[in-house]
């Protein structure tokens, strides 16, 4: 993981924390709260410093990493006319929205859990601008437009100026470049202000290690800046340098992502506690072909090959990998999880189930040691494996592979399991062909 999305609220909190340092000459109020239900909002309004929740007209919207909230009718800014939403109305609206699962126009389904509530900012369309920055290829690109609002994507080519900034560019060159590329549509009285803000915005984006930062729209009223909508991703590998500069921003999972199955969660938990890498994604619990592949690269070529040789992925039950020298115990746990899933259902078409125990030639993982964990798992699941007609295909190389292959063959033979075993002289994915052709 490198680039990870954060909530709009956290993005604004980061702006607020560093505002004085980066945006001298501009003001930003940071009147935002993040709540999960109506009561929480009501309670917040009683706290010192949040009196504005009772005094001002409000805007409420979900803060869960998805965009196009206006088009999805998920922005509350009016009851009868724009700018008349009270605290109580906002709280009630939130409770309404969390009561049922919703479906976005994009098809994503899920339950809303987090909302950002802010004051309504009366302003004219001309006061809305667009600004964003991200990395394209090896360079940073700053996007500037005199037209903000959610329609910016329509007519992007005409409306938006791109400023490409290389990694070695000096501050004065950057300032010069931004000045030369300021959008024509910015009114003369705001031009200098916009240039100054754009320069500061870029440095803020750069120094705080954002991977993506977009304000759409940003409303300029004199020197008052209103960040109406914000999307941000951080480069999480920079986390160790940023400390609390990121205000403890969390990285939530995307809205509508299916919840992990208990098995996937268990493997993810084991992964987080181990120095080794353990990954499991169940693609089709009824699937015929199950894989237990060592190594990130190898796991991809096995999945590729299964799809290529089968012509589709309907038979592929799972994707995953174990690598980085897992212990025998960790390997056994991983194998138990996969074998348990595999033996729950018979193939609906009555075919044998296939277990691919694959891997490239290991650098330094002791093959015999990891296979010991898999053999222990065979002992537990042998009868269930026979019941679903499991055929096992093994291919592996690396330290101690001869012993590993011999051990697993002997164990399978002793347990009465069908097995074919190959070493580095056989092409890494050729066992997929063998398994499918039989």
């Amino acid at each position: 993981m490198a680039q990870r999305a954060i909530r709009e609220y956290d993005g604004k909190a980061i702006f607020s924390k560093h505002w004085e340092k980066y945006f001298s000459g501009f003001r930003y109020g940071f009147k935002s709260v993040l709540v999960t239900n109506g009561d929480e909002l009501r309670a917040k309004a009683q706290e010192h410093g949040f009196e504005w929740l009772k005094q001002e007209a409000l805007v409420a919207k979900p803060d869960m990493l998805f965009g196009k909230r206006g088009k999805n009718d998920l922005v509350l800014f009016r009851t009868t006319k724009p700018g008349d939403v009270t605290l109580e109305e906002a709280a009630r609206w939130i409770d309404e929205k969390i009561a049922h699962e919703i479906t976005l126009l994009s098809g994503q389904k899920g339950t809303l859990t987090h909302f950002i509530v802010e004051p309504f900012t009366p302003h004219a369309q001309e006061q809305e601008y667009y600004i964003s920055a991200t990395t394209v290829g090896e360079d940073d690109v700053l996007y500037l437009s005199a037209e903000g609002g959610m329609e910016v994507e329509e007519g992007w080519e005409e409306k938006v100026n791109e400023v490409t900034i290389s990694i070695t560019m000096k501050d004065n060159e950057i300032e010069h470049l931004i000045r030369a590329n300021v959008p024509e549509g910015i009114p003369a009285e705001n031009k200098e202000r916009f240039i100054a803000f754009a320069e500061q915005f870029y440095k803020f984006y750069r120094d705080l290690n954002f991977a993506y930062l977009e304000i759409n729209p940003i409303v300029m009223i004199g020197n008052d800046m209103h960040i109406l909508d914000l999307v941000a991703r951080l480069d999480d590998t920079a986390g160790f340098m940023m400390g609390d500069a990121w205000c403890g921003a969390e990285f939530p999972t995307a809205f509508g992502m299916e919840d992990q199955s208990p098995e996937e969660k268990a493997i993810a938990e084991a992964d987080s506690k181990s120095g080794a890498s353990l990954k499991l994604t169940v693609l089709n619990p009824m699937g015929r072909i199950w894989t237990m592949v060592a190594g990130g690269g190898a796991s991809v070529v096995y999945a590729d090959t299964i799809a290529d040789l089968a012509g589709n992925v309907s038979d592929l039950a799972n994707y995953g990998e174990y690598s980085g020298g897992p212990t025998t115990g960790e390997t056994k746990f991983y194998a138990d999880t996969v074998l348990d899933l595999m033996t729950r259902h018979k193939d609906p078409k009555g075919r044998d189930k296939i277990l691919i125990i694959g891997g490239a030639i290991a650098n330094f993982t002791d093959v015999a040691k990891t296979f010991t964990g898999i053999i222990q798992s065979f002992e537990t699941y042998a009868e269930k494996m026979k019941a679903v007609g499991a055929r096992i295909y093994v291919r592996r190389g690396g330290p101690n592979y001869e012993k590993g292959l011999k051990d697993i063959k002997e164990a399978a033979d002793r347990l009465g399991l069908y097995i074919e075993v190959y070493g580095p002289e056989t092409h890494v994915t050729d066992i997929v062909r063998m398994a499918l052709e039989k």
């Binding site: 299916e258 990130g296 690269g297 991809v300 999945a303 299964i306 030639i361 330290p399 050729d430």
Partner: protein, 605 residues
């Protein structure tokens, strides 16, 4: 351009990753490299000066430095930095290496998860400096038969099976490090192995990309064709397509992008590297495979067919006479069982026909016609160097000067008392030697240390005297019980005269004589004494012989100066002991009237 590494390539290894270094040295031994591929280790927090490694059945010492700059200064020809620092420090380590202009041609970075902005800066700085960065997030690369980075290739058995022990004719570039081994094996089985291979690394921003490596291989005559293993995501493969189309690359390329599975899943499933996801249709594995095939690159129907494609291209090149048969080289084998040595000796060796002193057979230094004196023997065995005559003469002068100072000094007195108690020569001698220390004979070390310290720190003679006063220390090497300016110590006069005539220069003595001017103006007997003169001139000798200040400080700290006193004065002690034996003097008992008795009844507590 041309080959990335040769059989003479040496690396500096940043981080004392002993197992990876041992694997490199095992490889070096097996492929008959003349010199180990690791010249030095950088380990900022290590207290050791070297680490022992096996080189075949024997052990060798690889020096350890605190930073890259020092290691590079000691090994100016080591032009590869293997940066095994963590993701927190890998950037700084690479940047330090880049600033050492002309030192490093290649920097390999293994850390995964360097902040993207730092990785971009690092890669750009390297490009601007003409340094090839391999990685980050890679196992590295290999030039079979010449140089292997760290863990690439796995075990020695696998290296030989995958023909990574000698150059073949394929250039291999992969993103994945895990599949690098596998590809080498496939190429060994279906062709004749690789001539050079690089895993460019799995992070989003890597230093050298596919095209950089393929262009280098195009210009390397040992490479006859290339194998490229790409991945879903990114557009680097299109640069390769461009180079093939415009004729920059003429050698055949066999290529495949892994991750074709991704097209079957709309989203949510992350295949392989975190960075390996397509942001556009053109970045999918299928699109890249199609585009590469259209450009005339050999693209198999699936990864499973890759071996056959490689075999076809290889057979074709062989039929055309472009690839020729390789003569398999003879290899050395690393013993299965090796025992670490408990002791190390770097000064003499008794294993051959004749024992040697620092490489000189004893017979070549012992007899008068060899021209070697005891000073030469000392320079060989103590300092592992052959000193010029003026220096060995000085060493002998010192030994002769300190050989004895009469029976009354405490060391000689102890030796005499012990001899009279009926003990043997060794016991009596040791009793005398044990007396040598801070008050007796130890002033040579301290004089050298303090005068050198003052001189190194640019103190004036007056500042030095002030400094010693503040430290509450008398100045070692200054002052004599009897001798004074008007009654000079002729031993000192002799040493000074010798130095003036034969030493190239005597900066520390000159400084000490300035100090002496000030001290003797206060008190007549505060002269530079014989201990001080010996120690100070020893420093001047080492400076003139070209030792660094750190090395000289090392000699002083190790006690090498007192050692001259020990050797010299042993001659005198033995003289006194033999004298006692000859005289047959009885057991000595000190007269009670020479002792002040002041004993009170002990209090009860």
């Amino acid at each position: 351009m041309g080959a990335l590494f040769t059989k003479d390539t040496q690396a500096i290894f940043w981080n004392n990753n002993a197992s990876a270094i041992q694997r490199m040295l095992d490889y070096d031994y097996v492929v008959n490299r003349a010199k180990p591929s690791v010249a030095a280790i950088v380990a900022p927090t290590s207290g050791n000066k070297f680490e022992k490694f096996f080189y075949g059945p024997d052990e060798i010492m690889v020096p350890i430095f605190r930073n890259t700059t020092e290691a590079a200064a000691a090994f100016p020809k080591a032009d590869v930095l293997l940066n095994f620092a963590s993701f927190r420090t890998a950037y700084d380590v690479t940047m330090e290496a880049i600033t050492l202009k002309g030192q490093f041609k290649t920097v390999m970075v293994t850390a995964e998860g360097i902040p993207e902005r730092l990785a971009r800066k690092m890669n750009q700085a390297a490009r601007d400096a003409g340094v090839v960065v391999i990685g980050p997030a890679t196992v590295g690369g290999i030039a079979p038969g010449a140089f292997k980075i760290a863990n690439v290739g796995g075990t020695i058995e696998n290296i030989v099976n995958s023909k990574l022990h000698r150059a073949g004719s394929c250039g291999l570039v992969t993103r994945s490090g895990g599949l690098f081994n596998e590809l080498s094996n496939i190429i060994a089985i279906n062709a004749d192995g690789i001539a050079e291979g690089v895993a460019i690394g799995g992070d989003r921003f890597v230093g050298s990309v596919f095209i950089d490596n393929l262009l280098r291989m195009e210009s390397n005559p040992a490479v006859k064709y290339m194998v490229l293993l790409g991945e879903v995501g990114g557009t680097e493969e299109y640069k390769v397509i461009e180079a093939v189309k415009n004729g920059q690359i003429k050698k055949p390329i066999i290529a495949w992008c892994i991750g074709t599975i991704a097209k079957h899943f709309s989203s949510g499933v992350q295949f392989g590297h975190a960075g390996a996801s397509a942001n556009a249709d053109s970045e999918t594995a299928a699109a890249k495979n199609t585009a590469m095939a259209a450009a005339g690159i050999y693209v198999p129907a699936s990864f499973n067919d890759l071996p056959r494609t490689i075999a076809d291209v290889y057979t074709k090149l062989k039929a055309e006479g472009i690839v020729v048969d390789i003569e398999e080289p003879s290899l050395r084998t690393v013993p299965k069982v090796r025992r670490k040595k408990e002791f190390i000796c770097t000064i003499s060796d008794d294993r051959g026909d004749e024992a040697t002193y620092a490489g000189y057979p004893i017979s070549s230094v012992a007899t008068p016609e060899t021209g070697f004196g005891i000073g030469d023997v000392i320079s060989l065995l103590w300092f592992k160097k052959r000193y010029p005559k003026w220096a060995t003469d000085y060493l002998e002068t010192v030994i002769k000067t300190v050989a004895d100072h009469g029976p009354a000094v405490s060391g000689a007195h102890n030796a005499k008392v012990t001899a009279r108690a009926g003990k043997d020569v060794i016991s009596s001698l040791v009793t005398g030697l044990l007396t040598i220390g801070p008050r007796f004979g130890g002033a040579i070390d301290d004089a050298a240390r303090y005068f050198k310290y003052a001189n190194d720190h640019g103190m004036t003679p007056a500042q030095f005297i002030d400094y010693m006063k503040k430290e509450g220390k008398t100045i070692s090497g200054i002052g004599h019980r009897i001798k004074s300016v008007r009654n000079p110590d002729l031993r000192v006069s002799g040493l000074k005269k010798y130095a003036a005539e034969f030493f190239p220069s005597t900066p520390l003595l000159d400084f000490a004589l300035e100090v002496e001017k000030l001290t003797t103006s206060k008190k007549d007997n505060l002269i530079l004494n014989v201990d001080g003169t010996i120690g100070i001139l020893m420093v001047d000798m080492w400076r003139a012989l070209g030792y660094s200040e750190e090395e000289i400080d090392g000699f002083i700290d190790a006690g090498a100066l007192n050692a001259f006193f020990v050797v010299g004065r042993s001659i005198g002690f033995i003289g006194h002991i033999l004298d006692e034996k000859r005289l047959g003097m009885p057991m000595y008992r000190h007269p009670t009237d020479d002792i002040l008795y002041n004993v009170e009844l002990a209090d009860e507590i």
